[in-house]
């Protein structure tokens, strides 16, 4: 059954059809929530609450991409949660990555790794990823949500603006500032040179 049929069935109250959509999109929703909130359990709760909200408001989804609409709900849920907490994430994403690897849910690293690349290259990529996650966690929530939507989840500016209920120009400036801040953070942690350059230099040693 394709996505439209599942959505139609879910609109008619078929929870099983909706749960098939949940399985398709749960990693997107969870990834966003995890990078926004910085802790796995809170992120899972926020993502699931977003699915509950999506199920109850499916009637409002008209002509819009389900993934974009879902990300909008997750983004707002996370920003609301962060405003409620009024504090920075208590758990480092570095710990989160380590935990994911330990509990077997860290297949993300193997997805990122090319089977043809050697262990050194894989290690460099893993390092970059950890540092990048840490740098992301340091961004202000509004910038973080924007850069996650645009660069990680590949939403265009208009979709991100709709999701965050801000002007297009605001998205544009937030993306630029977030990229510049991430660049500065990566540079400070010695991870800035583009990965291909770093891999070349590693290989030449």
């Amino acid at each position: 059954m394709d996505e439209l049929s599942l959505l139609q069935a879910a609109r008619n109250g078929d929870l099983d059809s909706f749960n098939r959509l949940v399985l398709d999109y749960q990693s997107h929703a969870y990834s966003f929530a995890c990078r926004m909130l910085g802790e796995p359990e809170g992120a899972a709760d926020a993502a699931q609450q977003a699915f509950v909200s999506a199920y109850r408001h499916l009637g409002e989804l008209r002509g819009e991409n389900f993934r974009s609409w879902l990300l909008r709900i997750v983004a707002n849920a996370c920003l609301d949660e962060l405003r409620r907490r009024k504090r920075r994430p208590a758990v480092s994403l570095e710990d989160l990555s380590a935990g994911a690897e330990e509990d077997g849910s860290g297949e993300s690293l193997s997805i990122l790794a090319d089977p043809a690349e050697g262990p050194e290259t894989a290690a460099v990529r893993a390092d970059l990823r950890r540092v990048l996650e840490d740098c992301l966690a340091l961004l202000p929530p509004d910038q973080r949500a924007t850069i996650l939507l645009v660069d990680v989840h590949e939403q265009d500016y208009a979709e991100a603006a709709r999701a965050l209920r801000v002007a297009l120009g605001t998205v544009k400036s937030r993306v630029a500032r977030a990229r510049a801040d991430l660049r500065d953070c990566l540079r400070a942690k010695g991870e800035l040179p583009p990965l291909p350059h770093r891999l070349e230099s590693e290989a030449s040693r």
Binding site: P40, L132, V152
Partner: protein, 247 residues
């Protein structure tokens, strides 16, 4: 340009938008011109591109547990029943409103086409007062007011008993004006004639004349239809609003 020095925010935005293909033609041409001349600016662009690509390469994370919903978590289904969907309610309200308008128009037209026939015709056929009125019209002039209740068929007790006269007479049950309290024979002759015509007060030996089956005509039904359809339109519209808000 020193790549370590912060970029002018407008230039930074332009570089970032350029990366995303979001720079308009004039700005793009001007930026490309600068990029061709300034190596440091190219380095900034390369760094921003590296950041963007690194972000795109971030993998999706797996949730620690499936996020599927149980019926209890899902709560009320999206639509408890297809019949109560807002769309159906709205459509029903619109149809009822249209039918109401049609019936009302037809009613007004039919009344306008028959001046002087504003009262529903069938009232004459169905209601007792109307029958009595026709009887009064047949009676001698001045014999009874239009509101006079015709006496029933003569009985052994006579007119006094009819009006509660005699012993234990109840106030308020006096005979109507114009009808003698003691001798109602002269008055009753016309009423008797009317009674004969209308079948009231016939003797038990006379079989009642068969009443013709009269079907209600449109002008009699129209007010009821108007009330029914108008109410349906209002109720359905209210349900549509309620179900939309509930969602």
């Amino acid at each position: 340009m020193n790549p370590r020095a912060p970029l002018d925010p407008r230039l930074l935005e332009a570089l970032s938008a350029y990366l995303d293909g979001r720079l308009e033609d004039t700005g793009k041409a001007a930026l490309e011109d600068r990029l061709s001349r300034e190596e440091d600016l190219r380095r900034h662009l390369a760094e921003l591109r590296a950041v963007k690509e690194s972000l795109r390469a971030l993998p999706a994370l797996s949730p620690p547990r499936p996020l599927t919903l149980t019926p209890a978590q899902a709560g009320a289904p999206v639509r408890p029943s297809g019949w109560f969907s807002p769309r159906r309610m709205t459509l029903g309200a619109a149809l009822a409103a249209m039918a109401f308008a049609l019936v009302l128009s037809a009613d007004l037209v039919s009344r306008g086409a028959m001046p002087g026939a504003a009262a529903p015709l069938m009232v004459e056929n169905f209601t007792a007062p109307a029958m009595l009125q026709s009887a009064d019209q047949a009676a001698p002039e001045g014999s009874a007011s239009p509101l006079t209740v015709p006496p029933p068929a003569p009985t052994a007790s006579g007119p006094q008993e009819k009006y509660g006269g005699g012993e234990g007479e109840t106030p308020g049950l006096a005979p109507p004006p114009g009808e003698p309290d003691t001798d109602g024979r002269g008055e009753s002759s016309g009423a008797d004639a009317a009674s004969e015509r209308s079948g009231i007060g016939r003797g038990s030996d006379d079989p009642p004349a068969p009443q013709p089956l009269v079907l209600p005509d449109f002008r009699m039904l129209a007010p009821w239809l108007e009330v029914l359809l108008g109410s349906a339109a209002v109720v359905l519209a209210a349900l549509a609003v309620w179900s939309r808000r509930r969602k």
